[in-house]
Symmetry: C3
Subunit: 350 residues, 3 copies
């Protein structure tokens, strides 16, 4: 697929979201493919997570069809048993276990309500590289969480999330679809990602969140993209004039929004052509207490927008696969996607 410019499609040395923490239930096995690698995840008795290659080193049967025995995982084809570090600790009928009998054990961390897996060399994993998402139990925010699968490469989804110019077209039947381009977007580089900020002035807030906030406000949107596909988003409605008073920068704490939203999103490439999209959306707890249906409303709006994106992105993926000679051309609003791909390319080729 030449539109992805190069054979490598995945960054190895970073943390991938594999699941919501609550999806990994005690005494059961969770199977996922990340960056084309088959992975099985489970919890030890003390609640700690284990992530192993989901392919027995003996005859290549999936370990996710196996059986947990305490903190060990037994392959249910011929009974080899693996410790949580991937070492084989039992081969039925044999006393000696050769060194090569092990499956890869992935560094795995549960943080901010997500299960993070390091696909690259475990020796290089650094937990401080886990993006600072906001978890579901955060005292400030009331959040709702879920996920959806895409039949598309994850970079096409990253593209979509970094280029707000699509909103006016893909979501033109929605509430927020007009005037995306009249307000400039500020993009700045982060160590392993990008920061995007934008002020939109004089927004009709009733259109923004029906039934919640009325009047006209300045709207501030700010999000970080972090490799491989983490998006940490904040948006708020502020009194008119706030944008100017902040010099169109990030409003500090003395500016209290009349309404604020938070969303943590993670795009995980399962295989070259499929992805899973984990996301939460919500509002401040105090605001939600005043408007009890608010988070549900935001969730439903989000799901509607995401369904529109999914339809277009999957059509784009099919078009690319059916017509591999097609060449992309960039426009001004591709600056975000282009910067994202530069970062990805750099880390794919280390």
């Amino acid at each position: 697929m030449d539109v992805f410019e190069g054979a490598k499609l995945f960054v190895k040395d970073c943390w991938y979201v594999a699941a919501w923490g609550h999806e990994i239930v005690e005494k059961s096995l969770y199977a996922i493919s990340i960056a084309n690698e088959p992975i099985v995840i489970y919890r030890k008795g003390n609640g700690e997570l284990v992530a192993l290659r989901d392919q027995c080193c003996h005859r290549l049967a999936p370990l996710s069809r196996g059986q947990l025995e305490g903190d060990h995982l037994r392959c249910m084809y011929h009974g080899l048993k693996f410790a949580s570090d991937g070492r084989c600790v039992e081969i039925p009928g044999e006393k000696k276990i050769p060194d090569q009998f092990r499956v890869h054990s992935y560094p795995v961390v549960e943080m901010h309500s997500w299960v993070w897996i390091w696909i690259g060399d475990p020796a290089t994993s650094k937990s401080h590289l886990i993006p600072p998402a906001i978890g579901l139990e955060d005292p400030q925010w009331s959040l709702k969480a879920g996920s959806m699968d895409y039949a598309a490469n994850y970079l096409l989804i990253n593209d979509n999330l970094l280029d707000l110019s699509h909103v006016a077209y893909v979501h033109h039947k929605g509430l927020r679809g007009d005037g995306e381009l009249q307000f400039p977007v500020r993009i700045s580089k982060l160590e392993r990602g990008l920061n995007i900020q934008r002020w939109r002035l004089d927004q009709d807030s009733a259109k923004y969140i029906p039934g919640s906030v009325g009047g006209v406000h300045d709207e501030f949107l700010c999000y970080d993209f972090l490799m491989p596909g983490i998006f940490l988003m904040y948006s708020g409605l502020f009194e008119r004039g706030t944008a100017v008073r902040c010099d169109f920068g990030k409003p500090d704490e003395k500016f209290e929004p009349v309404h604020a939203q938070l969303s943590s999103q993670a795009v995980t490439g399962l295989t070259d052509g499929s992805s899973r999209y984990f996301f939460s959306v919500g509002a401040r707890r105090k605001e939600h207490d005043q408007h009890p249906g608010l988070v549900e409303l935001l969730w439903n709006l989000t799901c509607r927008f995401f369904a529109e994106d999914k339809e277009m992105i999957e059509a784009q993926q099919k078009s690319i696969l059916a017509n591999p000679s097609g060449q992309m051309n960039s426009i001004a609003s591709d600056r975000g996607p282009a910067m994202m791909r530069q970062i990805m390319d750099k880390y794919m080729n280390v």
Copy 2:
């Protein structure tokens, strides 16, 4: 697929039928793949047809998911707008539109009730190369039209239509299946095709068209094959002795048939392994007026025969794909298919 002898499967420099004219409805978009190229077709306000590559030059989304704005087509991913000649006329957020922002615009002509598209270099398109099919509004003929899709390469369908020896076997439960081979077929070359003629003497006409014509007649069949898969067919029942009186050539106007049929057929290769078959069948208006159910009867017979062909040709295609080492061997009745493939090969390799 070595049975197709060579990598090229499609002739570029010819007119392909993309649709029946009535299938291209005002204010809507019609998507089709022809010779593996994705194409979107629509009508301008004045009814003229437009055919563009169905892949936005920006991020490769299908334009057939776009939106018509007057005579322009807007991609509904990021809003690029294209004129009917394929030039991009608007890039949201940009004032200058670089030259390379265009999609291919295919020469398209509506003629004889069909929508014809030239896949090759537009500069070489010549509308006089459009085969002289008979359209649905012809004053002489009462015709019924439709189409069906095949999971098979179009050359296998061309083969079938050029070798009448299959009729006795594929359609052996039908009405006309016996004695196909006792009457010789005359094949002559055309500039971009073949002409096939055959007289069958002493045919039981009641078997030919049940309930319409009785008695015994000479039957004349004549059709042109024209690249890439156009078949223009005429057949008539004449008084016994006509074949001899015409020296087994084409009967001129002084011979009036007791019954005559017309069929225009177009086999369009969508992809290497799929095709769309457009066809009309019918009788003279004056004959139809006397036998009001006649065209419906012909239509039903045709659909039954085509369903039998489709079943066999799709089985043949599957057999070829599953067993690529298979070698075809030719027999005398393959003269038509062999001549067709010679012509196709010649034009595929210009």
Copy 3:
């Protein structure tokens, strides 16, 4: 698929089971792919079997869509007719039939209730190489027969049948799943296969066959594997002490089992990734007469076990295909599979 070590996946010079004899019904055509070759099988008027390549030498249509005319098979695309030796005996419209108009005729033998086909050079076929399975009409045994299809390479199924260590894990909810490894398996080489024998002492027989035999016995299992995937199995329950009295060898006729089972099994590779598994199971007629539900009971148990195997083997196949870099590692209980693959490799590469 590097786990199969080498490009060749099938042994040519051996007999493959294509069907149960009763599946080849008079006046009808039976289509099967064996080792990727398309084959059509039918009976002549005298009941003899014919096996031809299922692809007409003319335009590659499947002959299994053809029509039997006496002992001849006519392709129903263009009417070529083939004798039971594969020679074309009629080309409609032609008097001379060129020599190359023939389809391959496979040596085919009906024996032991199975239809055996020799895929390799017919000149090298030797009917004495047909494995000595026990047919359904055997006077000593009451047998029930069937088949099931696998979405997996046949070698993975052979592996499974040659390594009893899987029983304790795949069939751990079954009746016989415990203690597989405490009793050693004896494997010896045959000219084109392997013989496997095992005694298990002090087995709870009520667990073995519910409701049939009680008490505690020595259990003897013995089976031949013969290329390409034939398994001829016998097992019996004997009085305690028999194993020792036989020096853990095969019990001769003076030892009468209290219960005995027989199973003939044939794994036929259809394509690289699909297989058909033919099998019979049953008991001695005299034992069945005493326990009228016995054979049905054995059949149901067998089907349950085979469904468990199928689920695991198909998952293993999917895991191999999705992760082609995976490397198998061998353990002691792989001796049977390893010896099988050595034999297969030797004959694949002649």
